[in-house]
Point group: C2
Chain length 399, copies 2
């Protein structure tokens, strides 16, 4: 298979590119390296010492004899180059990770809100447009998020894989339809993935594009068998308040003896997946593409659900590091349940890596090993969903 | 009331600005005049001889003594200027027409698809972002479209005003919710209005912005009492295949004796509204804003539904001009029924102008009067929803 990995230098993209290459697929990474520039903007760096993309690719060639090509290209801006690339490379699959992917980053300021919307929507629309023109038979695989469903809109309902059966009632009549699960995003970032969903629905209907949207849970872990081969291939590990995902933040905090920072009550239940399952899921989905004219295929890319305070307690118990509750910067329900359907990827052959097995490996092999690279000043999230949380709450109560 | 009209030089924006000004509201028009540039791009011009915005505003001042301010600003690009404008003008209401609004134009090419998504999404997001920063208590009124609902997804159901009661079923459980009517856009343009809806939902929930989204039917007619005051105030009348709306195209075709061009069977049923009701609806909605923290208020801005071939027959009967059926360039159901709730604006006091009353006035006063300005080569729509309609249909049948 010939695979383009857009955003192939990032946290999910890099191990995905290696996973495909290791299995004999031809891989081209497309990236504008913006995630590395964002480290500079935020004054943070990956806990793990990631190498330049050139060094990564040289090491991969040296170790495996396999060549991964790289094109430095901004998917949201360089439309003509993107279309030309699709025309010349003739990919079977295009994996689309080329989006700003952090909720706190998307809420930092008006600049970050606008960048996230502009970048993510234009990246996705450019890709869809270019595929219609130059690669109408390629299979688009997009990384969505469980966050498109929201947490609590339809209490008691198992979150389906994208589509839900519904009876609509209006004007005394009823109609039974199948429709996208009603979106309820909790941040600008999550909202852009809801906008992506609408774009996919349109292009699948109008142009017959083959599209798979994978609604991923929160990723934990950092390494895959390929990134473990050599330190030059090591993957990013973000622990900062913007890009660090909740469990990886706990692991790093445990490694340096910093209290485990739980936002609010920690009653938020979320879906999780290990990074090594992420890369397997992408390949499994790529190996079984939808047909032209099929509806958008949506699968939930997650393996287990946990309450945030239970995760903190688990890590605390195993490491002896205490838990600390901070104000929740997000505007979200303090507590929610979550039950998620994930039969699609399991049915394609995913054999999950559960937290109970892999957790201490990550603490020891990654977080402790690189603990001296941690900047303690960057641990706490400084983004706020509303500018004056206390004021907004008071106002809401008064109205 | 202090009102900003974004897109205030356009077909809906100009008569809306005059309507507000005539009623004593302070009006600022914000526009980048791109619609005039698009006439150049397409090699067309308004059937009516519209004047420069400066001449329009001078005439309005001369005739009424009222001042309408103008700021030349690209809402999708000039973010800082937009935010500063909101901060200094402190509007009570912001009317947002600053979007590319033609479905055929949005489907002309990859360039037009990308421009429409980029312009419309960034314009709306910039405005929302800037309002959070600089005008959180202003009321945003947005012109949506009936096309967000689609035509035929839930057959037999009355199209509600934005929200619908639904029972969702998944994993053996049921949940009753109220949700946005599931969108089903028929073009890139209509899709952007669905994306706008998602943006509004997020900013209303997260930031408590006061938002009214008016899902408008197809506008017909060209003049309002204010634009009728003087020829220098005349409104646009588009008859070309891209920007001309269906009934105005029939009126112009009748005026010059060109066959009335019906796409497909003409079995498409659509919602309509006269331009003079458009401007009244906007003011009625502005005079009764939602409260901070309310959900997005959605109303259907239309007054009657008609089947396209019935409209053609009506115009043909009254004028003697024959009907001609052309291939339908759109990808849509050949026939549909439509029943639309519009109690919201009627309840606020709208007294509709029906087709049966105003139709011949428009033919005589506008279409016939300026018939010699018509370029017959621009009448037929050249956009195609899919590049090779015959090939795509054959492929679909084969799969």
């Amino acid at each position: 298979m010939r695979v383009l990995v857009l955003g192939g230098d990032g946290f999910c993209g890099w191990p995905t590119a290696l996973h495909f290459s290791a299995r004999g697929h031809e891989v081209v990474i497309v990236d504008n390296l913006v995630r590395r520039a964002t480290d500079g903007e935020l004054g943070v760096q990956s806990l793990t010492p990631i190498r330049s993309l050139d060094e990564r690719l040289d090491a991969w060639r040296e170790l495996t004899g396999r060549e991964i090509e790289f094109r430095n290209l901004n998917v949201a801006r360089d439309y003509e180059a993107l279309e030309e690339l699709l025309r010349t490379e003739r990919p079977d699959a295009v994996v689309h990770f080329a989006e700003q992917r952090a909720a706190p980053y998307s809420m930092k300021s008006r600049h970050h809100k606008r960048y996230t919307v502009d970048n993510n929507v234009n990246a996705t629309n450019n890709l869809l447009c270019a595929m219609v023109e130059a690669a109408p038979d390629a299979h688009l695989l997009h990384l969505g998020t469980m966050g498109v469903y929201g947490y609590g809109k339809a209490r008691g309902l198992r979150v389906p894989e994208g589509y839900v059966e519904a009876t609509l009632r209006s004007g005394g009549a009823e109609a039974d339809i199948e429709m996208l699960y009603p979106p309820d995003p909790g941040s600008i970032y999550h909202m852009t993935k809801c906008l992506d969903q609408q774009l996919f629905q349109f292009y699948a209907k109008n142009d017959g594009l083959k599209i798979t949207d994978l609604h991923q849970g929160i990723v934990w872990g950092t390494s895959t068998p390929e990134t473990d081969m050599d330190e030059r291939l090591i993957n990013r590990f973000d622990y900062d308040g913007d890009y660090g995902t909740v469990l990886n933040r706990f692991l790093m905090q445990a490694a340096i003896g910093h209290p485990l920072t739980v936002h609010g009550t920690g009653g938020q239940t979320r879906a999780f997946i290990h990074i090594r399952d992420t890369v397997r899921c992408i390949e499994l989905a790529a190996l079984s593409p939808p047909k032209r004219g099929d509806r958008v295929r949506i699968m939930n890319q997650m393996t287990e659900c946990h309450r945030v305070r239970d995760l903190a307690a688990l890590v605390s118990t195993r490491t002896g590091v205490p838990v600390e509750h901070l104000d929740n910067p997000r505007k979200e329900a303090p507590e929610n349940d979550l039950d998620v359907e994930n039969a699609g990827l399991i049915g394609l052959g995913l054999n999950p890596t559960f937290l109970s097995e892999g957790l201490m490996h990550e603490v020891i092999a990654v977080a402790q090993r690189y603990a001296d690279r941690c900047d303690r000043n960057r641990i706490v999230c400084t983004s706020r969903w509303v500018q004056d949380v206390a004021g907004a709450a008071a106002q809401q109560a008064a109205e």
